[in-house]
Amino acid sequence: MGNRVRSIALIEDDPSMLQGLNRLLSAHGFRVQTFASAESFLDNIADHEVDCLVLDIHLGGISGVELQRRLTSSGYDLPVIFMTAIDNEATRQEAFDAGCIAYLRKPFLAKLLIDAISRVP
């Protein structure tokens, strides 16, 4: 587990994936808050105490990359780990341009996600 990260906000619009990752991160001892959309995360952003954001890039509505841009422009400096089921050069470039700790292609092994979380400064 990372030195600093205790609480993770997980944003994923696929209910199965959201449930699976929630179980996985919880089993690794993280406190996980789940959100089915970027909009629901933004609704009460001030109430969320999170150390790291794990989010899908291709969310319905506001995309993961767009959420990261909005957070950055609003002054929220949250470490972000992007996940995607559609991996291509354009998506990868977009993710790194928006700023992220890691970019994970689904399906990925838990080790990759845990390693990425441990790299959060």
Partner: protein, 354 residues
């Protein structure tokens, strides 16, 4: 008189070389002998008599045997034989021409079938191409969920005592996600299978649209597009292969969604069907709220390699047009106040097929 001789000689020689003639032509020749040919009447009668008793080939021989001894001395034998040879040559030429024509038609049909198969294959490849992102997304989601759940279960099993209730739930979810992935693959197999022959039948276009909506729905949702279908209240049966039509409509729908990617929202994709009573045809319209087609591309949008997309191949629309035309239909594009609309029309199936 010479004309009569000529006619009789031609008729006889045609009968003699009648091996290559069809039965119907033999009958015509014999009928010809029924006419009044003056000095040749006896011979014609003889041949008619033979025809009732002998095979057609024997008739020819009898005709020859009968005719030679009774030729009048006054007959211009040279003229008759010359005309006969000319008739034989003419018949040989006609037979050769018919054979060449038959062969040419055979090759043309084979080429048409081969070209149609190639267009169908390209249509399938194009569909796979436009759906590739959606396919990757739809398969990787359940695969990702299965992997995360499995690894979570492995972690839970290490606890003492393990949470068997949660592990049981996880296993149920894994089974469900596995089935979900299988269904996606099954659906794609039906859509993208390489079939040698088209499955031609009377297809309700409204049903085809419903099938297409199921296929593109994940992509529609992922892109935040509002998809609306307005279907004709009556069935719209057209004679075609339903998979070919699905592929064409999927291509049009995906094109519409691509056209809205960089356009300001809201993004609306509408698929509408209607019966055109005037032309007794079914019409499908796929409209988007994108930027529309640039004026210079509008006239050439169905030509090969003409595309308005940076990553486009420019083959989707020409292939769609070829497929629709092969079913007697046509396709056209228009700009509207906001976005573009692609429409195609197919003749309705005959009443007994509907």
């Amino acid at each position: 008189m010479r004309f009569r001789i000529l006619l009789s000689a031609v008729a006889l020689l045609l009968a003699m070389t009648g091996e290559a003639l069809s039965e119907s032509k033999r009958v015509l020749l014999l009928h010809c002998f029924g006419r009044d040919f003056g000095p040749w009447n006896e011979i014609a009668r003889s041949i008619r008599h033979q025809s009732r008793q002998q095979s057609p080939v024997l008739i020819d021989f009898f005709a020859m045997e009968n005719i030679l001894p009774v030729l009048p001395e006054t007959t211009n034998v040279v003229v008759m034989l010359g005309a006969g040879i000319a008739a034989v040559l003419l018949q040989a030429a006609i037979i050769c021409w018919l054979l060449v024509e038959r062969r040419r038609r055979h090759f043309a049909q084979a080429e048409a079938i081969s070209r149609r198969r190639e267009v169908v294959r390209l249509n399938r490849v194009t569909t796979a191409n436009v759906l590739s992102s959606s396919i990757a997304h739809e398969l990787n989601q359940p695969l990702g969920a299965i992997l995360s759940n499995t690894e979570a279960a492995q972690m839970l099993l290490k606890a003492n005592p393990p949470d068997l209730v949660q592990i049981s739930e996880i296993l149920s979810d894994i089974v469900r996600d596995d089935q979900r992935a299988s269904e996606i693959i099954l659906g794609l197999r039906n859509l993208l299978n390489d079939r040698r022959e088209a499955d031609l039948r009377a297809v309700d276009l409204n049903d085809t649209i419903r099938d297409v909506v199921k296929i593109v729905s994940p992509e529609v949702e992922r892109r935040g597009v509002v998809l609306r279908t307005i279907l004709a209240p009556e069935t719209l049966r057209v004679r075609s292969d339903p998979i070919h039509l699905q592929q064409v409509i999927i291509n049009l729908a995906m094109n519409g969604m691509d056209a809205m990617d960089d356009a300001p929202g809201p993004h609306h994709l509408t698929i509408r069907t209607r019966r055109d009573a005037e032309s007794d045809a079914a019409e499908v319209r796929v409209s988007d709220s994108g930027k529309g087609i640039p004026g210079d591309s509008l006239m050439r949008i169905f030509e090969a390699f003409v595309t308005t997309k940076p990553q486009g191949t420019g083959l989707g629309l020409p292939i769609a047009r070829t497929i629709l035309e092969s079913y007697g239909g046509d396709i056209w594009a228009e700009n509207r106040q906001r976005g573009a609309v692609f429409s195609f029309r197919l003749p309705l199936a005959k009443t007994r097929e509907r």
